[in-house]
């Protein structure tokens, strides 16, 4: 005999029956419009170099609160970077600037001898060999730059592994060097939002443009020293080091490396898979969403599943607050 008694949370048998039925999770669909543009995915060394110069004097740095704190670090970094940089820059003798395309022009006037690009690898190797410097720097940034400029890119498609990994710690540096993309995918691309702002037409572009095309500079052969002078006399204007490296990461290194390894479509496919199983890839969701946005010029939006037929209430069950005693 069943008798209901008030005051407990024991479930009625019918409720237990329903509770035993596994719930069905509706599928998540992603709507993505593919608008892949060549310039958004294939960076070139001149572009990186130009971006570096452009980024140094961005007025956006004026509002960066951490600028002063990183200036010392950036100073050291600048020396390390600019020294080989100056030897590798060729400034064309005949300026071909157009007033409406200053930024593109600055790219045209800077080229890096591709055969000598490995020099950058040694530059970042030197940085990595300085413990005090690494303590302040984002060592992962240097490692990635080293990986990029030295041309040692992991040769297998490891997207799925990358997207699941935890960020590496300092003790994992060796492992990171072997597969640097692990770090990249998990730690650094999450701050992708500055990319667009970096190319949104800051007036300061005129400064570096004028600086580079002035005839006295072009024919003086003092490009390296001049740049160095500007770096040290305008430290307050510098974009913080981490911000700059994040930019490089986002725009150039990550995408180039990933695409070289597996191809653009593979990357997008991997990202879509990642987004489709959010429970397994929660930590990577922000990054993958952003990088997919960059690759496709569209924002992937989770779309609710479209109901088939109609939707309705079902399985309405009363949860009894009665103890069911069997006598």
């Amino acid at each position: 005999m069943w008798q209901a008694r008030k005051g407990t949370a024991t479930l009625f048998r019918a409720d237990r029956r329903w509770a035993a039925i596994p719930a069905v999770t509706p599928s998540l669909t992603i709507e993505v419009f593919l608008k892949i543009t060549q310039e958004s995915v294939i960076p070139t060394p001149p572009l990186i170099a130009s971006a570096f110069l452009y980024h140094l004097i961005s007025p956006a740095s004026l509002i960066e609160e951490k600028c002063a704190a990183v200036s010392r670090i950036f100073k050291e970094y600048s020396w390390q970077l600019v020294f080989p940089f100056g030897d590798l820059i060729n400034i064309l003798e005949e300026p071909r600037f157009s007033t409406y395309d200053e930024y593109s022009s600055s790219i045209n006037y800077i080229s890096i001898v591709s055969s000598d690009i490995s020099v950058f690898g040694s530059c970042f190797s030197d940085l990595l060999s300085q413990p005090l410097l690494i303590a302040d720097f984002q060592e992962s940034s240097l490692l990635l730059l080293l990986t990029y400029f030295s041309g040692e890119i992991p040769g297998k498609n490891i997207y799925s592994v990358l997207l699941r990994c935890d960020p590496l710690t300092g003790s994992d540096i060796d492992a990171f060097v072997q597969s640097s993309l692990l770090f990249v995918l998990n730690g650094l691309i999450s701050r992708l939002n500055l990319f667009t702002a970096s190319f949104s037409g800051f007036p300061s572009c005129e400064i570096i443009t004028t600086f580079l095309v002035s005839k006295s500079l072009l024919f003086s052969g003092l490009v390296s020293s001049k740049i160095s002078h500007e770096l040290f006399s305008n430290l307050i204007l510098f974009t913080p080091y981490s911000q700059f490296l994040n930019f490089l990461w986002r725009k150039s290194l990550i995408l180039k490396t990933l695409i070289e390894i597996g191809g653009l479509h593979s990357l997008i496919g991997a990202i879509l898979v990642e987004l489709g199983s959010s429970s397994e890839f929660k930590k990577a969701s922000e990054f993958t969403t952003e990088i997919l946005t960059l690759l496709t010029s569209s924002i992937p939006l989770p779309k609710p599943a479209i109901p088939y037929g109609r939707i309705f209430f079902t399985d309405i069950t009363r949860i009894y607050k009665y103890l069911i005693d069997l006598k």
Partner: protein
């Protein structure tokens, strides 16, 4: 049309699911589905069990209740299918028989 006996000082707890004809389960917060209710004898609120895909409804009768009251659950959903906006709705009315 279900009906439940209820003490006037008792909280009624209902559990249900929202499905389509393909037996897929939906949660209001994830599927652009709005839930509401009407009643002449009390107030209630909805709660979701996201893990198990259940919706709970907690209903508290008024201090003074009729011998027979009602509770109706309303479901309204809108889904964009291409350029077409499709609306879904359902109503479930429940009679409450109060015991003294």
């Amino acid at each position: 049309m279900p009906s439940y006996y209820l003490f006037s000082d008792e909280t009624l707890v209902l559990r249900f699911q929202i499905k389509d004809e393909n037996n897929s389960i939906y949660l209001p917060s994830e599927a652009n589905v709005n839930l509401s209710y009407q009643s002449d004898c009390g107030v209630g609120e909805f709660s979701e069990d996201k893990e198990n895909k259940y919706v709970y409804f907690y209903f508290k009768p008024n201090a003074s209740v009729p011998e027979v009251g009602y509770l109706s659950l309303h479901l309204n959903g809108t889904v964009q299918m291409g350029e077409r906006e499709v609306s879904f709705r359902d109503v479930e009315k429940i009679y409450l028989l109060f015991k003294s």
